[in-house]
């Protein structure tokens, strides 16, 4: 995801990702709306075509941030930092989308907007960590220190994911008898639904790749402007 020395405008690959993503987005939307309604949840299940890709890409984006933060810490190349930042920013958008759609789905299904289920809690913690990531970036003016500090948060924040998941799972298991399994009704999926979901996932991935490359370029231009 790294680019040549001094690019001025997005390269062909970035345009290809973005163009394909934007072109296929209406197709994914059509597939989602024409997929058969769920036996139990009816039309409500369609929120999943937005929710699942959002959540998956949120996690993927933060994982990419983790990788590039590690790379930055060992190589000290500002390009790695820019990709890490770009990915975290896009990840925050996707994760926010997943959280909001999840809540909208949970209210009619479970009767509440929020429940302290391990996956939900872990996601919320992760979201808070990356909000902190950007507050930290905003607070530091020296670019090198900013990159280092952000990289440390990017690494620690992602290491924290399995730890949070484990602790919340155990925390819940002690006193709460009622437990909601998010995967119910989603494992046995109609081929048409699965198709639509996978297609939307592909579209979102294309958009993610395009956005990250684009954002990293913008960050590179900003950095050059700052130096000049």
């Amino acid at each position: 995801m790294l680019k040549a020395a001094h690019p001025e405008r997005p390269d062909a690959l970035t345009w290809a990702f973005l163009g394909l993503g934007v072109l296929l987005l209406p197709v994914g939307f059509y597939l989602a709306l024409s997929a058969p309604p769920d036996v139990n949840q009816g039309y409500l299940a369609r929120i999943m075509y937005l929710h699942v890709p959002g959540a998956w890409l949120g996690y993927l984006a933060f994982f990419v941030t983790f990788l590039y933060s590690l790379l930055y810490l060992f190589r000290q190349d500002p390009r790695y930092d820019r990709v890490a930042m770009a990915s975290a920013e896009i990840g925050l958008v996707f994760m926010g989308l997943a959280l909001v759609t999840g809540m909208l789905w949970a209210r009619p299904t479970w009767g509440v907007y929020w429940t302290w289920e391990p996956r939900l809690t872990t996601t919320a913690i992760l979201f808070a960590v990356y909000v902190g990531y950007f507050l930290l970036r905003g607070a530091i003016e020296d670019p090198e220190l900013r990159a280092k500090a952000a990289a440390a948060v990017g690494v620690l924040g992602f290491i924290n994911v399995p730890i949070s998941y484990m602790s919340v799972k155990w925390w819940r298991s002690l006193h709460q008898t009622q437990s909601i399994d998010l995967t119910t009704g989603k494992i046995h999926m109609d081929p048409a639904m699965l198709q639509a979901l996978l297609f939307n996932l592909l579209v979102f991935t294309l958009l993610y790749l395009g956005f990250v490359r684009f954002r990293a370029l913008v960050a590179a231009l900003e950095a050059r402007k700052e130096e000049a």
């Binding site: 810490l73 913690i125 808070a128 960590v129 902190g132 507050l135 930290l136 607070a139 530091i140 090198e144 220190l145 280092k148 500090a149 990289a151 440390a152 948060v153 690494v155 620690l156 924040g157 290491i159 924290n160 730890i163 949070s164 484990m166 602790s167 919340v168 155990w170 925390w171 002690l174």
Partner: protein
């Protein structure tokens, strides 16, 4: 730099002596200054008092809230202490001297961590007694409760030390530190609260022990990550 070799009586490459030297020096400064320790102590007492006022006066409600309040108080206290650990260093512009000492930077991390633990342990014991008074916490299990607080405190302080070092030179660190810290240490607080609740409600030892194990694992993970990342971000 010569004085530093005194504190390193050939205990291998790790420089355990240096770590102790740094921690004890900080502790001495802190005790001489008094203001720092006293304000931490007062903060703890006032906070527990206000929480008791807010949640009381029924004995049952207070008793049920005690573990949560204790851990929140501990979390705030550890944040306060971790800022203190680097505040003097920055004020006197000696942080760079410490970091420039030959032979790695990990020892600065461990020294600051040890300093915090040396203050945090007596203070958390004190918090237990205060909570016993204000929240009707039974003191029969004080020893196991203290062990839980120590385990959780270590996990908390190992992240707090890392972040405090990272933010030491920044303006607005007082706001940023809790913001970054609290979301990261949720697991420690959760496990700590559960272990405390288990002890107070008389759960079987095996169940509480599993929480201790979890806390121990968290401690090790955070300690390792903190010690590995600290030299990387403190360079220069």
């Amino acid at each position: 730099m010569r004085a530093e070799t005194r504190g390193r009586p050939g205990k291998g490459g790790l420089g355990v002596g240096r770590v102790w030297l740094l921690a004890l020096r900080d502790l001495r400064l802190e005790v001489r200054d008094r203001a720092g320790v006293l304000s931490a102590l007062t903060f703890l007492a006032v906070m527990l008092f206000v929480m008791a006022l807010a949640l009381g006066p029924e004995e049952g409600a207070l008793r049920r809230a005690a573990p949560g309040v204790l851990w929140v108080a501990l979390a705030f206290l550890a944040t306060l202490l971790s800022t203190r650990a680097f505040a003097l260093e920055v004020e006197d512009a000696t942080l760079d001297d410490l970091l420039l000492t030959p032979g790695g930077k990990e020892w600065v991390y461990f020294g600051k961590l040890l300093f915090q633990m040396l203050l945090l342990l007596p203070l958390s014991a004190l918090a237990l007694f205060l909570a016993a008074g204000l929240f009707y916490l039974p003191l029969e299990k004080a020893l196991t409760l203290f062990l839980t607080l120590a385990l959780g405190g270590l996990g908390y302080a190992s992240v707090a030390t890392f972040y405090a070092g990272l933010l030491a030179r920044l303006r607005g660190r007082e706001v940023l530190l809790p913001l970054l810290l609290f979301s990261l240490v949720v697991p420690v607080v959760l496990a700590g609260v559960r272990a405390t609740v288990g002890l107070l409600e008389g759960f079987p030892v095996a169940e509480v022990a599993s929480w201790w194990q979890l806390l121990l694992v968290f401690d090790l993970v955070y300690l390792t990550a903190g010690a590995l990342l600290f030299p990387l971000v403190m360079e220069g």
